[in-house]
Subunit: 335 residues, 4 copies
């Protein structure tokens, strides 16, 4: 049994990891941390987990992590992961960081979009970007994972086959996310009444996931790729739906475009190609799947893709990475 | 034109009053207050009202209220109304208080349920409980209204004809409210994710609206009436649905029970008797209506009634009271 | 008082017209039709309107329309309007057709997208496209209005100032609509469970509103304008949110772009320019407003605009047209 | 591996069983039936299950059930189960019937509430009512289960300890269900727009689950128990919340009442006693748990209990029964 610590177990993402590991047949929760006055049964704080999680929530003690866990999920605000990841890496732990701290190779980009100076640029080089469909072999060989962001996961998976083949240009990503993506904080804009049947764009041209998406696509393309990205909040609990516009290098028939997707994703357990109709968000809710559909007209392509932002966009993808690193079946605990 | 000040214009109830008065043909907004750093266009804070409300939000200045307004809606937290109502009353204003401060005649009950000492017991005697269907004549003769609570409005309207006739006993009120009833505050339990498809009971046997309901029903019955009351929160923006259980004094046919409702409510513009099926919450949303249905079996009766908690349960009932006091058509601005 | 017939009063749009006219101070409902076995009180069928609508629903009798109404709202499926509009027009009625039957000037386009042959091409020439912000003077001079579609209304209003100035190219419209846009029919894909937290694209490159949008934009631009349009369904009751991407003719500062909007919309009562943040769908719900925001980066522009699909996207815009034609205040009954 | 046939795999309940068995470690789907024109991949019809369910949906062929399955889940409309259950029982299959056909021992009650004559009264005697917390030993010894209804499951579990101890009288059950409880049919009252923020009571005094609840409570009490039951529909996808009112035999402290619950449910894996606050519906969504809370005041008790109607109220309870009968761990595949 792989022993698992969840550092930051009270956010939506941390809680989702707890839920997955609680029923994972080859891993077990051994340490759950957050800021608490005193050790408190996790299920007292989140009654949903009574009967399945029988562990206290405790304040973070790095020594305890080292003692009790083989795998550490860092579900922390950005800049906080800096303070702990290096220590756990040094101690030989599998570290899967769900913050943005180790995703961007260029510290200037980090500084520009996260408005703070990066203080652990050394370790940035060691982290593998944990998108299994792109980096499975590197993940397998690593013990330090920068788990991708939610918007980047769905956007990259939707574009990967075409960008790799050098087929697309002028990429526009229009994406819509349920509010759990904004975290469990008591803000007035997270109030039920403010979100009920509400939808709006935010951070147009300025979202911090832009450099993350561009970095991956540029790596894959072998040249600089720029995108336009418009995120929206929708009055939903969870899910991200991305509708992507691009110009194709030449006229294509849909089946020709599909061939590139088939070729890349044929054996991927968590990618589903939707050839009969565009994917529906409800079909991926509470799953680790990414569903993808396309429409082609001459040299114009529209790609629709969706994931559950807390699952494939965060927690279950993190567990997928754990499974890969520890040689467990990749889908174990995720179906 | 009746000049209207809304003191506390940023809560859900205050905002709802603003919205109603903004299109009221015989009233106009002249003063909107809340705590603000500096006078700020109301529509900048609540963009929904751009194009319909062209007034600043300002800090409360009692002199300004007296100068600018004929009617003052006090949409304040309880205990805060104490500090202002007497002054405005003394200055001859029509004061419609939406807090609980002047609803309970017995200061001990106030203290027991609101956990503070009442400091203006003098004026409690002067306030008329603003349920038009019960107190229309008193309201007409008054200028100081204690506007009823949301649960008490729907519960009392549902029971009035039967309690007045002395026909019911062992009253149980099971009521469910959308979250706007809890006010616009940034609490984690108001978070969209916590309320999505969620429903739960709270304050069983202990809700502060119990003494308010019991006071009115006892007045009407001419003897002490006790109730069991279970409020619930539902993951909705607005609306209250009450399902009420009681024992009838003898076996009744439904039509005989309906006769009591007809008799009392025949000419009420905002009471709708639903004889074909139980009322549906969606039918009263954004209206001042209270819909009522009944089912009878021997000596058991089930009464279902619903209102929009922000409308008939607060803001539009307050405006209905204003209309009555100022001799405007009772339904003006409310259809 | 303007006498109003609503032909097709049981769809979502027809019902919305009924609701608006019921409280319109200068118009009154005189005839409501749909297929019914026998005349039935409208409020029996839609209990929400009890107390405000006191009229029967009857089978359509064209003579009765002519006798009882000055204005006829045709809220019918496409191809059905053909059969009635000419007669009412000939009899001097104000006819406001909410179907698509008289929107497209080119019968071939109609045939291509609606899959039926147009049988009243003669009258197509006489209908004015009822977008007041574009055609107010023509509307004023006409008595036969082709009321715009929901997606075309929001898309056109968002683009009008820039297209008129010849400033934009490569237009992509990504739009999301609540399910009421699909009409009140009992289909499994309208089932609550299928739509709850669901979102998906449909009819990509193929939606019937594409030629309508292109026709208007081409008229305004004075040259052929083509668009890419991706509609989505979201698990909401109402509202449309459009996020539009385009290339600007040159680098612009946001304020320079705003100037074109100000110039065109300064005096429009139902257009609100959102300069501080992108518009939010909840702010236009149940209103006739169209809210517009922009973001500019070099030669790239993102425009976000939203309306209530049943209101500005259908019923309230139809009433706005009636107000204009009949010389009532344009905002009467719509605030 | 236990081989499983789901007869009626396209309803919400049937689909939920498919989902559970698809990842059950000791059972496998071997046969899925419904009315189809020709065998069709299940995942083509319900894309959510692509990648997890790799089986055709076929028309029911009883011989195939007998050949391919050890366990048959009958997820059929009532009266249809009659036609198949006896055959599968006779052939030694484990039959778990999710319809109401074998729940009521008294055929007259069946006839009264389901409006049809029962044609297999013989086998009614052989079916065990599949509420594990009540009948675990009988279930273990049986191969023919009448799986309880959703309202009866939550109501009975909430009342069992007190009814068994003879402590309660005058029971009123006020229950609220998400719309999936009404089945996957394309009715106008299931339309998203009709259910959005809607809530209403139906079938007051007349719901077909009344005799089922009364039968079980009477069995447990050893004397006739009558209830008042008011079901409501709420605009939710899933979940049932029951608030139950009763008179206690004498004054109790809450802890004394809790003792009865503890005593009966201490070792139950799927019952959670909520002593700190009333249970919340969201905590049981997508689980097999039943959460129970109480409030006591003198001789009055309020019990709140909730389940997921498609899970503990139908599909996962059915699987729990399968686990018990086949000697698998009772919680296998259900956590």
């Amino acid at each position: 049994m792989v022993r698992v610590a969840v550092v930051g177990a009270t956010g939506f993402t941390g809680e989702q990891i707890v839920e997955i590991i609680a029923t994972h047949p080859e891993a077990q929760l051994t340490y759950l941390t957050s800021r608490v006055e005193k050790p408190t049964p996790y299920a007292d704080l989140y009654p949903r987990h009574a009967g399945t999680v029988d562990l206290n929530l405790e304040n973070l003690d790095a020594d305890q992590v080292i003692e009790r866990a083989d795998v550490v999920f860092l579900s922390l605000p950005h800049t906080v992961s800096f303070q702990f990841a290096p220590l756990f890496v040094k101690n030989g732990k599998t570290v899967i960081d769900l913050s943005a701290d180790y995703r961007l190779r260029d510290p200037k980009m980090y500084e520009k979009f996260y408005k703070v100076v990066h203080t652990d640029t050394e370790n940035v080089k060691n982290a593998v970007y944990g998108l299994p469909e792109l980096n499975r072999e590197k993940i397998k060989a690593s013990k330090f994972i920068a788990n991708p962001g939610c918007y980047p996961t769905v956007s990259t998976l939707a574009l990967l086959p075409l960008v790799k083949a050098g087929l697309v240009d002028n990429i526009i990503i229009d994406a819509i996310s349920g509010i759990s993506g904004a975290g469990r904080s008591a803000k007035i804009e997270h109030h039920y009444v403010h979100l009920n049947e509400n939808l709006y764009a935010y951070k147009v041209f300025a979202h911090q996931h832009v450099p993350e998406i561009e970095q991956t696509l540029s790596d894959v393309a072998g040249k600089k790729q720029e995108i336009i990205f418009t995120p929206h909040v929708v009055g939903f609990e969870r899910g991200i739906y991305a509708t992507i516009y691009a110009d194709l290098a030449k006229d294509f028939l849909p089946e020709d475009v599909w061939a590139f997707y088939e070729n890349m994703y044929r054996n991927e357990p968590f990618i589903r190609l939707r050839k009969k109709a565009m994917p529906q968000l409800a079909d991926v809710r509470h799953t680790n799947f990414c569903d993808i559909g396309i429409a082609v007209k001459g040299r114009k392509i529209v790609i629709c893709a969706c994931i559950d932002n807390l699952m494939k966009g965060a927690a279950s993808q993190a567990v997928q990475n754990m499974n890969i690193i520890h040689g467990l079946g990749e889908t174990t605990g995720l179906m």
